[in-house]
Symmetry: C2
Subunit: 505 residues, 2 copies
């Protein structure tokens, strides 16, 4: 055995358990449930799932796949293509898998990312046969050191019948020490989670495991897939400025301290771009308590704006990966990665009073938010952690461009076609048009703010027309149920939400 591997597998009992990915895959049978490491393309198990896809070419294999969140390395794509997934949870973001889900060829359970661990602990899901977890090492005291994400790996390892490790030599070994693994324990027999500041350490540096449970170790050498987000543009810069204006006013009113409050920022290009906007702001000494840490967090650290960032995964663009991994020691003391149950825990989010920034698909006149379903039916990615954060944060902010599809879609609609965040949970909506602060407002007070400050001018008249007609029928939340989804059905039929009259036809 190479010396390097011996140094990484520090419990010698593991040395004779090194197997090929094919051997590991051969243990996986039809009908099993797998718990894979991986969160937003980071730290995913890469080799064994690929080998399983190959194996499925010879024999019938269909498995349930549980993960942290979306996988990279094309794993979700090839698994979907091969049709080997019976049920997938709690989140995905792959276009092929999305197609399978929306064709009804694959079952998908869209869960709050902090809920999966509880459901497993309660035995309310199929039990996990194999946890397949990427690691950068296994310590002498029997701890698995995860790589670029923690996700649900610790609960998978705890609950699984057996564990397969993917020891990935391509991941930065310097990450050892920056994970913080904490097991919440059984409900009803549980301590308060002691975290009071974003940089508090709660638990151990690795995932405790009974070495006998590790059935095999597969050696891999493959980097994470880089993130696919697009860089900030002029419009996202405008959105960032509106957000910063809002935060500045809150500070001036004494509602926020100078360094704001710990920030959470959602997945995707828009959330990243808006966070990026803080680079040019006066705010410093910022803290992040988030889920995935994207490029913007590291840009802000480099610029001395962010003091500390806690997350559950690191997902970077190609160039940023190189920069950060080449200089990991620079970030080590200012970073912590925790299980997603902890990064997204309502107890902590509420205690710290986070500012959460997430991206919706659409928002309605009253502030209800759709984060998941295009036209109410087609799954995009999943709710992810947006519900965990939105419900419990001090300020629940949603940022989106006011239109999509070159204006054929308005992001502000009369009635969202699917509800992921109810009006009770949404504080502020930001678009390139401005922002609407909905706190403490009754439904009818929110409408003009959202139309005037968030909707695109090309849709304002149409929104007012709906609202006025709805008001004639009355109610606390005026609606025309016959027409509530007419914008969506128009788009499906005519390719645009714009009404003919507005189009001048």
């Amino acid at each position: 055995m190479e010396q390097k591997i011996e140094q990484l597998l520090r419990d010698s009992r593991l040395h004779n358990r090194i197997v090929s990915e094919e051997t590991a895959a051969s243990w996986i049978n039809d009908g099993m449930t797998l718990g894979l490491s991986g969160f937003t393309r980071a730290g995913d198990a890469k080799a064994v799932p690929s080998a399983l896809v190959d194996k499925a070419k010879q024999e019938n294999v269909k498995v349930n796949v549980y993960t942290g969140a979306s996988l990279g390395s094309d794993i979700d794509r090839i698994m979907a293509d091969a049709g080997i997934v019976h049920k997938r949870l709690p989140f995905q973001a792959d276009s092929t898998m999305r197609r399978e889900i929306n064709h009804g060829d694959m079952l998908f359970v869209d869960q709050h990312l902090s809920h999966t661990a509880e459901a497993l602990r309660q035995d309310a899901l199929n039990p996990v046969d194999f946890a397949i977890v990427e690691a950068i090492s296994i310590t002498e005291n029997g701890e698995i050191i995860p790589s670029t994400s923690v996700g649900n790996s610790s609960i998978f390892v705890e609950k699984a019948e057996a564990v397969i490790i993917e020891l990935n030599l391509a991941q930065p070994a310097e990450m050892e020490g920056l994970h913080d693994i904490y097991e919440a324990g059984e409900q009803g027999n549980r301590e308060p989670i002691g975290l009071k500041h974003v940089d508090d350490r709660l638990g151990s540096k690795g995932i405790p495991v009974d070495i006998e449970k590790i059935k095999g170790v597969v050696i891999t050498n493959q980097a994470d897939s880089p993130s696919t987000i697009v860089p900030p543009d002029e419009e996202t810069a405008v959105m960032a400025n509106h957000l910063i204006d809002f935060l500045r006013k809150e500070k001036e009113l004494g509602r926020l301290p100078d360094n704001l409050a710990p920030l959470q920022s959602g997945i995707g290009s828009v959330a990243n771009a808006v966070l990026h906007g803080l680079l040019d702001s006066e705010f410093t000494d910022l803290e992040v308590y988030s889920e995935v840490l994207q490029d913007a967090v590291f840009d802000l650290m480099d610029a001395g704006k962010i003091r500390f960032a806690s997350g559950c995964s690191i997902t970077l663009s190609e160039t940023k990966i190189e920069e950060v991994y080449a200089d990991m020691n620079k970030y080590r003391d200012r970073l912590m990665l925790r299980p997603q149950e902890i990064s997204n825990h309502p107890e902590i989010i509420r205690r710290l009073g986070l500012i959460s920034i997430n991206t919706p698909i659409e928002v309605d006149l009253y502030g209800n938010v759709n984060s998941t379903h295009i036209l109410g039916t087609e799954m995009m990615n999943g709710i992810g952690g947006s519900g965990d954060f939105t419900r419990n944060s001090r300020l629940a902010i949603f940022v989106t461009k006011s239109i999509a599809k070159r204006g054929d879609v308005s992001s502000i609609v009369p009635f969202v076609s699917h509800v992921d965040h109810t009006e009770h949970d949404v504080d502020v909506i930001v678009t390139e048009q401005g922002y609407a602060d909905l706190r403490g407002l009754a439904p009818t007070e929110r409408v003009p703010l959202i139309i005037e400050h968030c909707a695109h001018p090309m849709y304002r008249e149409q929104l007012y027309a709906y609202y006025k007609e709805a008001c004639e029928q009355g109610g606390h939340t005026p609606h025309l149920l016959e027409k509530a989804f007419s914008w969506h059905t128009n788009f499906a039929k005519n390719g645009t939400m714009l009404e003919k009259s507005t189009l001048g036809v």
Copy 2:
């Protein structure tokens, strides 16, 4: 001064602040914001709001009214009738007030009951001018002992410019000692909430107050209004049995201990009746961690089934009030009343792993729940604590009769006309038809369960017809947006959700 009053107002500085309700009301000016004690008809400020309504006959007075939850003593009714309320939050349950709200004559902000205190602490709502709080005494060390509810009283007292006490001689003085007042503190600078068991005491027996802040004390002598819930009936007994069957199976599967888990039970007749059903079950040594404690909780205590109950108010029927108050000492050591922020706190609900039982207005094929809006527009009461509990509990259960309005309304619809609890948050639906356990299921797996086990037979065919047509169009969550609300619009037009064909016309 009567000796009795001296014994209750133990800080002598208060003795010369006793005023009539008219005098207290004279301090309240147009445009002010009031924080009133009161939660589900219990412990509400009674005299000063009434006097304010009288005052408003002479002069223009419009105020914002914040409370714990709904008020009794007809206060919400007479305030609404007099048109003195500009904005009301976070919950109400009065038919006159409901009418005003739905006519657009009064603004109503429907909030999670655990959120109001945070919003006040953050200064995100209008500041409170007067806290008007019912008490049974004020201690020598400057604590206000609330009466039958705590609600938001402690945060109102803390944040208000001035405090008016209604010392109610009709409330049982023996309640002193069973309140537990805890202030969460500023977000970001806050300790974990130390509660690990339903009977843990966190804070003080009264609301700490700077005596100088108390501007006046009004002496009253008026009992709470009794609850208006209707007693259990044959159908609710059947529903309770389905629920107990489910809980029994969970126990047998080792997912729940013998004494289940601390129970939360929502407001209203159905939730009370279903809890009542536990009387005839094998479960003992039960614990309650809930919001309002209704008749059933005390029946279960009397029967030796409930060991301890923590809540934030006690709301009983006429006969039960007499029984319980006549024998308060019997319950003293088995009861605790806390601020609603604590009774409904996500941190505690998640830690204890509650079983929550709430009542929806309607549920859809995919498990989304409407708790608040009739036909998507008319406010019923408000979301109350149902979101606080549902999101964070171990088992989020909703119980409802499968039909309303003698069958003209199906409680199971294709698409709920308003969403208060999303499919991510709803675990089990119970009707008199049976129960559907939705945990770990994809949307299309949930549909047949909900139709077969929850929907009324008279609506099953119609539900399947919608679903089948929707499936032809596909999607992760199949829907026909053109027809999604057709059941509601049918009801509005024809007085029934039944389609003509099904009616045989």
